[in-house]
């Protein structure tokens, strides 16, 4: 992308706002529309925007792959272990009632944890998908460049071979 000062400045302002809104969608999901899936996608959008404006390398730097894998797995584990916790407290799997002092607070804690797990995994999977596909593009370009070099080399050696043959004939 062309280095455009307007886009850069607006992105810098927007990215934290997008992230904040994602967190609002995440945690207000207990009371109103929202929840982990939506929040995760919005949160990931901030990273996608960052990478699109400031380049893949800086984008990758903001959210390293190793951390991303940890987040993908951590979200699933958080969800699953919340269920296991209620199992250990003597109720059925994912029965939130037993997680708090009252059934109501238990339900609240349970859904908060589970939705946070969902949000974490969705956000990091979206980021992983984006970087994987965007990375393919550089990979493909690199491969194309390498192929072009190789072909040029081949042509050179062929030309050399032909000229040596000609010389030999002379």
């Amino acid at each position: 992308m062309h280095d455009d000062v307007v886009i850069r400045v607006i992105a810098k302002v927007m990215i934290p706002a997008v992230m904040l809104f994602a967190l609002y969608v995440q945690f207000h999901g207990d009371y109103g529309p929202g929840g982990g899936f939506q929040a995760g996608v919005v949160f990931a959008a901030a990273f996608v925007l960052n990478a699109m404006i400031f380049g893949l390398n800086r984008g990758r730097h903001a959210w390293p792959a190793r951390l991303n894998l940890l987040a993908i797995c951590g979200g699933v584990l958080l969800y699953g272990l919340t269920g296991v916790a209620s199992m250990l407290l003597g109720a059925n799997y994912l029965d939130y009632d037993v997680l708090g002092a009252t059934t109501q607070s238990g339900q609240h804690i349970g859904i908060l944890l589970v939705e946070f797990g969902v949000g974490l995994t969705v956000a990091s999977v979206m980021v992983a998908l984006f970087f994987t596909f965007a990375g393919r593009l550089t990979h493909i370009r690199l491969m194309a460049k390498m192929q072009a070099h190789e072909e040029a080399d081949q042509r050179k050696t062929k030309r050399k071979a032909r000229s040596t043959k000609k010389r030999a004939r002379k």
């Binding site: 993908i72 699933v76 584990l77 699953g80 296991v84 109720a91 059925n92 799997y93 994912l94 939130y96």
Partner: protein
Amino acid sequence: MMQHLPILQVLLPLLGAPLAALLRHRDMAWGLALLLTGAAFLISIILFSQQQMTGETLVYDLGGWPAPIGIVYVIDAASALVLPVISGIAFVATIAARRLVEAEIDARDHALFYAAWLLTIAGMLGQVTTGDAFNIFVFLEISSLSAYALVAMGAGRDRRALPAAFNYLILGTVGATFYVIGLGLLYMLTGTLNLVDLSDRLADVQSTRAAFTALAFIALGLFLKMALFPLHFWLVPAYAHAPSAVSALMAATATKVSVYVLIRLVFGVFGIDFPGLADAVGLLVLTLGIAGAFVGTLAAILETDLKKLFAQSSIAQLGYMAIGIGAMSATGLAAAFIHLFNHALMKGALFLAIGAIAAQVGRAGMGTIQGAGRQIPLTMTAILVGGLALIGVPLTAGFISKLYLVRALLEQDFWLLAALTFISSALALAYVWKIIETAWLKERPKGAPVLVETPVHYVPAWLMVIATIGFGIFASPLVDAAYAAAHVFIGGAR
């Protein structure tokens, strides 16, 4: 803890997957997979014996929400029979996976491989356990998506794994979409997704066109998923080019789960008395089943690559299961369950033995095994016994399958079909003989790579071979369990 077994069955491999992905060392990931599949196998055996003893249906409410509102996991005679098949095969395949994966997959991908491996197992176990129609779809997608990734991981050694995985992805997604469209129609009609509740409420609207359309979509989607002829084209390349461990796991379990889901939906939800079911599903499944039995067998005879050969034979074997379903009787369903069980054992043995060869030399074609009978006698004998079981030779599990299949057909006076089943089984002799001839009667060509076998190569396959023979000789517990499973869906005498 005992009351949590139905959920733990699915949960252990499901939560094992993210853990395996995080483990850096490949042996640790393998060890975790082995531990969890072993635990799942143990749990499924406990559930099976518990169910057999009490004869009751075990229901587990997720989140403490009871049936029509919440999602329930149901262990009845049918799911209790299918669970040990899947988890048992998964366990044995995991034992074998270590060597096969080491040989075929880049070391950096091992942790992710075992993560996908555990996910696909969890998905299959979930489809069988759950009593919620939409939950079936979710688990179907979990198992399929991870299976696409597993097939594609064969690309390190065989680039054709990529188009195979892509075809599988497209067709698998179409199948799953059809299933969910049908489900949407049912939900619109009844307002429920619980299988038992769905079946009750469907009785009021069963003569509507929407209900029939739902049946058509669901059945078609599952035909695609179970690779019923002529919707089987994704299966052969996917099994042939996948890593050997994946071929073994999937050939033995993946399509079986779809057969189970088809039975569960068609007979458990729509019910045998559903108007048009006998014509639309029964007749169609019978015709396609017998056609598939012939097409698969003939294609297998022409094939020279062992993995492809036995993948084609899977098409034929799925045809037999379809015939059992299409007979629309308790005996027919029992025969389908028996064959589902037995075929999983045979194909497990075959693909594990072939995998042991393919992992050494890259591919297992007729040229590779020429004269190999003396070089690797135990591995080749495993293939031989598996092949004989596919034909239906007495003293192997395949014989029991064919016996009950023919019995179901004769019960309904389908003489012609019984004869055709017999002929197509006999035709299977052609490809098994081809293998015997190549492996034992021909000399090993000069300069052929030396094949070796050590216990790690043949023990997993032989576990399956022993089970194949064992269930061929002592078949009565299996037959009883299969009839009990069939009676969940269709009443009637033995």
